[in-house]
Symmetry: D2
Subunit: 141 residues, 4 copies
């Protein structure tokens, strides 16, 4: 099995249990080893009191892309911290795309950058996350 | 109208439109001027592939507490950036409470700390957010 | 030896080797267990191209207060990450004070908030740091 | 005058006043528009109590690279916030290089990533900063 196939099998396993991302209507693609894209349409049950997408859900989209990117290596890996900059509101009906890429991967900690854009290619948010890996497999090899 | 009454009226106005926080089953209390508490039970549609609450939804809870805290002054205020540290997983059935307090309020930017705990009083996440205010009222005075 | 005495002995040991804080003219006080204050005057060799204190040196002051606060427990502890918000410039001749307090201390990671103010009591920067402890003593007990 | 020449003239103007970066023995290069590199050798007056480079000075190096990168457009620009992850200690005698690149530039806020490596090409720190620009020139055009 190639490294990319392994990354995709980890993603399938994660997706099977990821009720939260499904609740938010997300779709996820593995675009490389340590790279993932997540998409979400801003539905009318996702807006806040100012008629824009709740920032927490924009974060959740980035966090999902991050989670799928950092679990590519078949070691159970979770988010330890994250930083997000909200550049522009996402509004009802927007389709958001979060692209996660690896900045650095150490033995236990790794760092990913995620850029969230809307359907016009405008940046909605910049996210950076730190992950921690455990000595546990995601799927049986 | 007292300052606290005004903060509560702003909160009522925000809550009326906050579909996202409702989708996630949150409850919000204004506990002071610039202070708010949000609660959420981790439902089975909120877990991720590792059977713990999606980090994005823990963030969303903190973000909601932050949003209600920083809109106390009847100036439309949005999140500009945030940092979150995930200390301990939240699991299915947990009841999480996010307590937001003001660290510093300037003319345009303000900073809030949010602590998310579970029903055992254990810290699940530490969050700090920066908000930006516009010269627009939340409610008519 | 009381816990506070131990914290102070750790601080003395650290201070003996802390050439960097000395280079910047800092003074440090242990104000409690997990709490420290660092002070620094903005000298004319500390300003940047816009005649204000280099942000890196404001950060360094906060980082020193953080380092002395988190080494109170006689376990060698280092900064793992930090976030800083620059609220107001510090100018030549200002005396800055950084007050570090503990937000949460786990087994291995701990979190500290540091507030940097000038001599007028105005907030110059807000800092939050995460530390990591090793199983190594700072001083012999 | 080309855009790159303008960026370099802004850098020269900043460097003339940047006593802090000189105190720390830094060298700065403009490597493109919105891109800069800063170098610093860890001297014996830069270490802390654990014989490694004070984290604040590693931050300061990254901050200098960031400052020179974000002032390329001849609008006076300052750091508003930053996040740093310390991955590996820098030790006495190391030569550190901080490479700053632009992640996103808006009308008023811009975001830069800085990677700090040692002479072995090992990552010492990852930094991300947000800058704010004013309607004021750095140099007369």
């Amino acid at each position: 099995m190639s490294d990319l196939d392994l990354a995709k099998r980890c993603a399938d396993e994660m997706w099977a249990g990821d009720e939260a991302s499904r609740l938010l209507g997300m779709e996820v693609d593995i675009t490389g080893i340590g790279a993932a894209t997540a998409r979400m349409r801003v539905r009318d049950d996702m807006v806040n009191g100012f008629d824009v997408c709740h920032g927490g859900l924009v974060f959740a989209l980035a966090d999902t892309a991050f989670a799928f990117a950092c679990n590519a290596y078949n070691r159970m890996t979770v988010a330890a911290s994250a930083n997000v900059e909200f550049l522009r509101p996402a509004v009802l009906g927007d389709t958001l795309e979060a692209v996660a890429s690896e900045e650095y991967r150490g033995r236990r900690n790794a760092y990913y950058a995620v850029r969230v854009e809307n359907q016009h290619g405008q940046v909605v948010a910049l996210f950076r996350g730190r992950s921690v890996s455990r000595d546990e497999a995601v799927v049986a090899e």
